[in-house]
């Protein structure tokens, strides 16, 4: 038993991590400081702040003496988060304009009140009285004004730090559609949505996530369209998050998704405001994260990940064709190499004769077994793809030339790979690139390896069993309570109008079922455009 314990038993917990007494003290001291209120003594206040920020290089204090009484005061900012001229403006107001006021030996409190009420109308003023709030706002780029003898700090608001200009998202380009993309600033992002959906029903709830990063996370939805249950669920899942930092929406995503172990994305993420707006209008919830242009949309299903914004802007028939092409391509990208291996290794008799002879001829002299050949080529391709992404664009194209032209050609010439396999790998690659959602495309590429293995083990039976497992998995997945494989399984034939085809806008009468939308009606029926009445038409004939 003892040996058993030693071999397999859990190690005894080592007890709490021992910190030095000094460290402990420092931490608790800091916490204490954060929770204390500001005192009336300017120097003491400033010292505390300097202490808390630990003399950071960007921490700046501008001292001044204001008013007739030469009241000492200071502007505290973090450099770089605030424009220099706005600091100067505040100083000018406090120093120069205050002289114009009728101030007769005002007490510091009264002086402060006057400045607050009358001199700074252009600023978004707030009073802070704890160091906790003070530090947080300082970090967010607020300007703080402190006076001696006043136990409050005057927050002069934030003007927004420098951020990237709105430009076209490079990962989600469209042929037709708006060229705007989200940026790293959350307010810009929500404004992009506000500008598209002007109803007051667009509600945006704010959360602050990350104990250290204090990242702002917003949840947007259209009140009245979205089901309350969904909103409550998302809210509770967001509130449950306890993490030190949120640097990208991916952190949030992994905390709130339904099935953490699947390779399928259960939240859509996009850089495109039009896509988010469309999602909101279908009764979905969008989650904005400060510091990243990627916005999450939920709930979604697999087929929505295979749709591109173009589908809704292009002509309906074209969109329908392209959509089906994409769905087909997705499955091709998963199944093709595996099926090739299965057929060539196990079911030599299944091909039309001419094709079979050709493939047999191309295999002649290739030193690897088919599986190894396919695996090697697929892996090579994966490496090429990854290298192409990481490299600067100019070199990236060079990589593709090396990969496609030189490597492929040389492999065939040297007899190391058969042309058939190169074709298979190429088709698979092209097919997987047609998937608009990058994460879904990559999931397909992972599955591809699984299917190659299955195909190489028991042939087409393996492919079929794998396919069934995949279907079981997809059918059991849920995205915030909505079945992931809807409207195929469960079958909602009415929603097929927006999956396999994209019906004309005048025919898209309903919002998708099963999302839980409260209001299914999208538009009034009978709006199909018709030509002018017949008699008028006759007049124009062949004049």
């Amino acid at each position: 038993m003892g040996l058993w314990q030693q071999l397999f038993g859990k190690r005894k917990a080592r007890g709490p991590k021992i910190l030095s007494l000094a460290d402990d003290l420092v931490i608790s001291e800091r916490e204490q400081k954060l929770n204390t209120k500001l005192s009336a003594n300017l120097t003491a206040n400033l010292n505390t702040i300097v202490d808390l920020f630990g003399n950071s290089a960007d921490f700046t204090i501008r001292h001044f003496k204001a008013g007739p009484d030469q009241l000492p005061g200071a502007v505290v900012v973090l450099e770089g988060l605030v424009r220099e001229d706005s600091i100067k403006d505040i100083q000018r107001v406090v120093l120069v304009d205050s002289l114009k006021l009728d101030l007769k030996a005002a007490k510091p409190k009264a002086f402060y009140q006057l400045i607050k009420d009358r001199l700074l109308p252009n600023y978004d003023l707030k009073e802070l009285d704890t160091f906790d709030r003070l530090c947080e706002n300082l970090s967010s780029g607020h300007k703080l004004l402190l006076f001696d003898g006043v136990d409050k700090a005057l927050d002069c608001g934030v003007e927004g730090y420098k951020s990237r200009a709105i430009e076209e998202p490079s990962a989600e380009t469209v042929i037709r559609g708006p060229r705007e993309g989200f940026v790293e600033s959350i307010r810009t992002n929500t404004s992009l949505i506000r500008r598209r959906i002007k109803t007051p029903n667009l509600w945006i709830e704010s959360f602050s996530l990350g104990n250290l990063t204090r990242t702002e996370v917003n949840m947007a939805y259209i009140k009245g369209l979205v089901s309350d249950q969904l909103v409550a669920e998302v809210r509770s899942r967001l509130e449950r998050i306890d993490i030190d930092s949120v640097l990208e929406s991916g952190y949030v995503e992994e905390f709130i998704e339904d099935d953490p172990f699947t390779i399928f994305p259960q939240l859509a993420r996009t850089e495109r405001p039009d896509k988010v707006a469309a999602g909101l209008l279908e009764g979905k919830v969008a989650i904005f994260t400060d510091g990243t242009p990627f916005v999450l949309i939920t709930p979604i299903n697999l087929w929505e990940l295979l749709q591109a914004p173009d589908d809704y802007y292009e002509r309906a028939s074209i969109a329908a064709f392209i959509r089906n092409l994409r769905i087909f391509a997705y499955w091709v990208s998963i199944l093709l190499p595996g099926s090739y291996v299965a057929v060539v290794n196990f079911h030599h008799e299944l091909l039309p004769s001419e094709l079979a002879l050709r493939i047999a001829a191309t295999r002649e002299g290739v030193p690897f077994p088919v599986v190894a050949e396919v695996l090697i080529m697929e892996l090579t391709f994966e490496m090429l793809r990854e290298a192409g992404i990481r490299l600067p664009q100019a070199i990236g194209s060079a990589i593709s030339i090396v990969g496609a032209l030189i490597l492929g050609e040389a492999a065939i010439r040297a007899g190391l790979a058969s042309p058939a396999v190169i074709i298979i790998v190429a088709i698979t690659a092209i097919a997987s690139f047609t998937v608009p959602a990058f994460d879904l495309g990559i999931s397909g590429r992972l599955l591809l390896f699984l299917f190659i293995m299955l195909g190489a083990t028991i042939g087409l039976l393996g492919i079929q069993l794998g396919l069934l497992m995949l279907l079981i998995h997809l059918c059991s997945l849920r995205s915030f309570g909505t079945p992931y494989f809807v409207p195929i399984g469960p079958m909602v034939v009415k929603d097929w109008r927006d999956v396999f085809i994209r019906i004309w806008w005048w025919g898209m009468l309903k919002r998708p079922h099963l999302v839980g939308t409260r209001d299914l009606d999208r538009e009034s029926p009978g709006q199909m455009p018709r030509p002018e009445s017949q008699d008028e038409g006759d007049d124009h004939e062949d004049n």
Partner: protein, 402 residues
């Protein structure tokens, strides 16, 4: 146990695929007896026979829309006889699943994976089905939703491509040998309609249990249509003699035709359709089996039973039939008819009797004790057990030496 609901449409798909899979598999109207070119007439007879079975199964279930057979059999014929009835139904489900998957394994071993051990093929299929069963009937139903269009598409494609090759003269002469061969041909496929016993477990899971009978009948009608078409096409192309001699006629058909130089060797289509349909069938059967067994044993959850049952299923499937000949012999009407008749005599007949008596008793004197009805039910049940032997004899006489 948590009750999950499936739509009637999903039930329809499940039943349709279960039933049609048998058609693709070995076309029993043709291979089990000597119906030969009249197989399609036998298919029509099969529809009638199966409809009777479906009504027997579903109508009773619809009267107890919230209960499985395990529950209402206890209510109808007291605890222990009720458990016997449930055990028979469960045994039936178990056997059907094992046999279904065995046929599939046989065709793969014959035609595709010659060296691969049967146990691997069967084990793989059963394992995947068990995973689905573990996820619950809702997931099975969704997969059925997904596979149904594919299934139909594959059938239509494989049938549509070969239809031009049908020679009507292969179907002549029609009914030249009288009715008997046709009846003989329809017995086995009718007996296989015992698959519909899954309804006894599924009806409480359906959203509209009252319409379950109609659903099942529609599924039956659809699959019978496929059966007729496949019978006509197979005989019309292969000829009655060659088709009857084949172990797996539809598979033989699809592998032995060449529509054009490029459209040949299309047996993958029916094989995949078969695999899909079989999967749905097995998953549903394993689910029903585990669910029912859990109820009989009084367990809170059926899930722990799924994988042990799947393992048992695999072993049974491999071991129950020594070889393909034994499997085929099992499907001779002389063997399979009485066997499956026994299932019904031991399960549904007594329940119907008890139900009937109960309603008669109940209407005659209101508030009369259940006990008396139950006693009568048991007497009738014994009576119907006793009727088994004569019924079998009659069947044998009908079959002659087939």
């Amino acid at each position: 146990m948590k009750i999950t609901k499936i739509a009637n449409r999903q039930l329809l798909f499940i039943l349709f695929m279960m039933r049609t899979t048998v058609t693709i598999a070995f076309l029993p109207v043709l291979t089990s007896a000597d119906a030969a070119q009249d197989a399609w007439v036998a298919a029509l007879f099969t529809f009638l026979g199966s409809a009777v079975i479906v009504i027997l199964v579903a109508a009773l279930g619809a009267k107890y829309p919230k209960q499985t057979i395990v529950e209402y059999s206890t209510a109808l014929v007291s605890t222990w006889p009720g458990k016997v009835v449930s055990a028979v139904v469960l045994w039936a489900l178990f056997t059907i699943a094992a046999t279904d998957v065995r046929i599939y394994g046989e065709v793969l071993v014959t035609g595709f994976l010659v060296q691969t051990p049967l146990a691997v093929i069967i084990g793989g299929m059963v394992f995947v089905a068990a995973v689905a069963a573990w996820q619950g009937i809702e997931v099975i139903a969704r997969v059925a939703d997904t596979l149904f269009p594919l299934f139909v598409l594959m059938l239509v494609l494989s049938l549509g491509m070969v239809v031009p090759l049908v020679e009507i003269r292969n179907l002549q002469p029609v009914m030249a040998r009288g009715l008997l061969p046709v009846v003989r041909g329809s017995i086995t496929p009718t007996a296989i309609a015992a698959q519909m016993l899954v309804l006894t477990m599924l009806i409480p899971a359906v959203t509209e249990p009252n319409r379950a009978l109609a659903t099942a009948l529609w599924a039956l009608a659809g699959s019978s249509l496929v059966l007729v078409v496949v019978a006509v096409v197979t005989v019309g192309i292969l000829g009655p003699e060659q088709a009857s001699r084949s172990v797996f006629p539809f598979y033989v058909l699809t592998r032995s035709i060449e529509v054009t130089e490029f459209v040949q060797r299309i047996e993958v289509l029916p094989m995949f359709a078969w695999g899909f349909g079989l999967f749905i069938g097995i998953a549903t059967l394993i689910y029903s089996l585990a669910y029912g067994l859990a109820q009989v044993l009084g367990l809170a959850d059926y899930r722990p039973l799924v994988f042990p049952l799947a393992a048992l299923q695999t072993t049974f499937s491999v071991q129950a039939y020594k070889d393909v000949f034994e499997l085929l012999r099992f499907f001779k009407p002389r063997v399979v008819g009485p066997y499956i008749l026994a299932w019904f005599i031991l399960s549904l007949f007594p329940l119907w009797a008890a139900h009937f008596i109960r309603t008669v008793w109940g209407s005659r004197r209101q508030g009369g004790s259940d006990g008396q009805g139950r006693v009568w039910g048991q007497i009738l049940a014994v009576f119907s057990f006793a009727s088994y032997r004569p019924l079998c004899d009659y069947q044998h006489r009908l079959l002659g030496s087939a």
